[in-house]
């Protein structure tokens, strides 16, 4: 039996959660865009469909210190400077971002396990939010995602005057048990209506019929050698916007910073759009923007499925559609390369 919280009690809920652990919710900024922020009293949950930055930041932050070194004479001392990770809750993650965690898990939780990532995954509770008003840039259904039934530890279903909650994992059940005193029974038929309504809108989305049939691990040669790449990448300016707002882009670089007093080794997001991406001693394997541009889409549509039983590493959140400075994006690429 699903239990419900009324909209009026939402503040109480946030207070209750944030009293025990750190809570992050999407909230509206002054410029009208939404972003995940640490909850403070009075903060309001955003109605926006998506945040500018994706929720991957909580498990895979943009920069992260790995170790520190100090040298004295010929002695090198290595220090573990990892910070203790505390329990936290991310509230209001959309279906696309929730799926992105599964994709990142396939990269970071397989052998060798990334202990930094795993530590955060273990401590984080993900409360997802079902979509009711998808945007024209949404195409998650193309990748088999059901935005009316997102994953995560707990799923919240908005029904106008409140939210129904459903636990999907043990962690989620524990979470719901702790807030049970704020919940009440509600009319489940309303939930069915809301979901039906959303499903109807999904069918009407401009990108509802986007097909992935032409892509996958077995299409490597024909896609790699396609003559379409030149035209598609022609206007790419080589910034990293698409990769940095993407919930599934997972590449990083490891760098040393000289503090004047020692060395801090840290990792930071890297972008395949950058000229020094995967640069090695012999030079750079991808010297032109065409090759770098192709790498990004081949990775999402061919290399990743090839290594992961056909699963694509795009979740159709639409962030790159909205943020690319020159409006080139994965949908345009897929449509251009599609074999009709």
């Amino acid at each position: 039996m699903l239990r419900k919280i009324t909209a009026a009690k939402l503040d109480q809920l946030f207070e209750a959660i944030s009293g025990k652990q750190t809570l992050y919710i999407p909230t509206d900024r002054e410029d009208g865009a939404a972003e995940f922020r640490k909850y403070e009293s009075g903060m309001k949950l955003s109605n926006a469909l998506n945040t500018v930055r994706s929720a991957k930041d909580f498990f895979f932050p943009q920069t992260e210190n790995l170790a520190a070194f100090k040298m004295e004479g010929k002695k090198i001392e290595v220090k573990d400077i990892r910070k203790e990770c505390e329990d936290f809750v991310i509230f209001g993650v959309r279906a696309c971002d929730a799926r992105s965690f599964d994709i990142l898990d396939k990269v970071y939780l397989v052998d060798p396990v990334d202990s930094f990532y795993k530590n955060r995954r273990d401590h984080g509770t993900v409360v997802t939010m079902a979509c009711t008003r998808p945007a024209e840039t949404c195409f998650c259904t193309a990748f088999g995602i059901n935005p009316t039934m997102p994953g995560g530890d707990v799923t919240a279903f908005p029904v106008g005057d409140g939210f129904f909650f459903m636990a999907n994992t043990e962690k989620g059940e524990k979470f719901l048990a702790e807030i049970d005193h704020l919940l009440e029974d509600g009319d489940l038929s309303r939930l069915a209506d809301v979901q039906e309504n959303t499903r109807n809108i999904l069918k009407k989305l401009p990108l509802a019929n986007l097909s992935t049939d032409s892509f996958g691990g077995d299409k490597l040669n024909e896609l790699f050698n396609s003559d379409k790449w030149a035209g598609l990448s022609e206007s790419c300016i080589g910034c990293g916007t698409c990769t940095f707002v993407c919930p599934t882009c997972q590449c990083y670089d490891i760098k040393d910073f000289n503090t004047g007093d020692g060395i801090v080794r840290f990792r930071c997001w890297d972008s395949c759009m950058y000229s020094d991406f995967t640069k090695m001693a012999h030079g750079n394997p991808r010297v032109s923007q065409l090759e770098r541009f192709r790498q990004r889409f081949m990775h999402k549509l061919v290399y990743f499925p090839s290594n992961n039983n056909g699963e694509f590493s795009c979740v159709g959140c639409g962030r790159c559609l909205q943020k690319c400075p020159i409006s080139m994006n994965i949908v345009k690429v897929m449509k251009a390369l599609e074999v009709k």
Binding site: T137, I237, K332
Partner: protein, 323 residues
């Protein structure tokens, strides 16, 4: 307008004046046009577009294009012509290889501004007497035209084309814009208020480098931030210092060369008002060394490549503005 442009482009392609056309290509939706090069009349007919959403500045692409053989036709808005001139002046564009057609400028619209009002599922937009009728999946919405214009068009400096081979439409005038108002407002704040303002803005930066990469004045083959030998190479700001450093150096490097085209703020995924940093330099240059507009012509010496014996001392910073 669009028809006239396509017609003229086809003529110039047909008579061999140019062999390529630089313009904008229709996108998936009505608003996501991509800069593109067209080589045939068919391509122009199929996908050439020029409307309220073609705000991208095409000038920087001409660096790459003029390295190639042949001549290219470029459609430039007034603000783009300033960038073009500046690039010609810096020997980055070969003027002989470009046929410039000046086209009227904005104000251009930014769909993100419409979305920031909470309007979602946008399918189409019509401008009716400067009210936007926005057709969405969830019904019709309305908003004033001027609230949806791109940040780069909010305080237009000029409707005049400073360079062209021919014009479509009429040439405009240099405008008496209010573009320095926000800079002035910040100057009149206390140092702590300014600090807080910029921290809240710059801490949003994700270092995607879009501001730098799109900038028509940023044309280094290898940016110092990508060059390990520079000592300051970094891919992400590890702390607030590096956030500040990147933006100071980015703005400083284009000081005296920035034409104030506003592309940096247009492309910023986090809506940081980056143009304010550039405008601060422009305003200081105007106030201290005489009015100067980068890209206005190809002959004037850039203010930082020039000096006068009786220039003010650096201590003037202490005497200006509040606190």
């Amino acid at each position: 307008m669009q028809e006239a442009m396509i017609k003229r482009a086809k003529e110039l392609l047909a008579d061999g004046t140019v062999d390529r056309v630089m313009g904008w290509k229709k996108g998936e939706f009505f608003y996501d046009h991509t800069p593109a090069v067209f080589t045939t009349a068919q391509e122009l007919d199929d996908s050439f577009v020029c409307d309220d959403f073609t705000s991208a500045n095409l000038s920087k692409y001409l660096i790459k294009e003029t390295i190639k053989d042949g001549k290219i036709l470029a459609f430039l808005k007034p603000c783009d012509t300033y960038s073009f001139n500046q690039l010609v002046k810096e020997y980055r564009i070969d003027r002989e290889k470009v046929y410039v057609i000046g086209i009227p400028g904005g104000p251009k619209l930014d769909v993100e501004k419409i979305k920031s009002k909470g309007i979602t599922g946008i399918l189409n937009v019509r401008n009716e007497n400067y009210t936007l009728k926005i057709e969405t999946l969830y019904g019709i919405s309305e908003m004033p035209f001027y609230e949806a214009i791109s940040v780069k068009c909010e305080s237009c400096k000029s409707k005049k084309h400073v360079v062209y081979d021919e014009l479509i439409g009429e040439d405009g005038e240099v405008l008496d814009s209010n573009r320095f108002d926000m800079v002035e407002k910040l100057e009149n704040m206390t140092s702590q208020e300014r600090y807080d303002f910029w921290r809240s803005e710059l801490s949003k930066c994700i270092r995607c480098n879009a501001c730098r990469t799109v900038c028509p004045a940023c044309t280094c083959e290898k940016c110092v931030f990508e060059n390990p030998d520079s000592g300051i190479e970094n891919k992400a700001a590890a702390d607030s210092f590096e956030e500040n450093m990147f933006h100071i150096i980015r703005a400083f490097h284009v000081a005296g060369r920035c034409t104030d085209c506003g592309e940096c703020s247009r492309v910023c995924p986090e809506n940081i008002p980056l143009h304010l940093l550039n405008r601060k330099f422009i305003k200081d240059i105007n106030d201290l060394y005489g009015t100067y507009q980068a890209g206005e012509n190809t002959t004037d010496k850039a203010p930082l490549n020039d000096y006068k014996m009786d220039d003010c001392e650096a201590s003037i910073v202490h005497e200006r503005g509040a606190e």
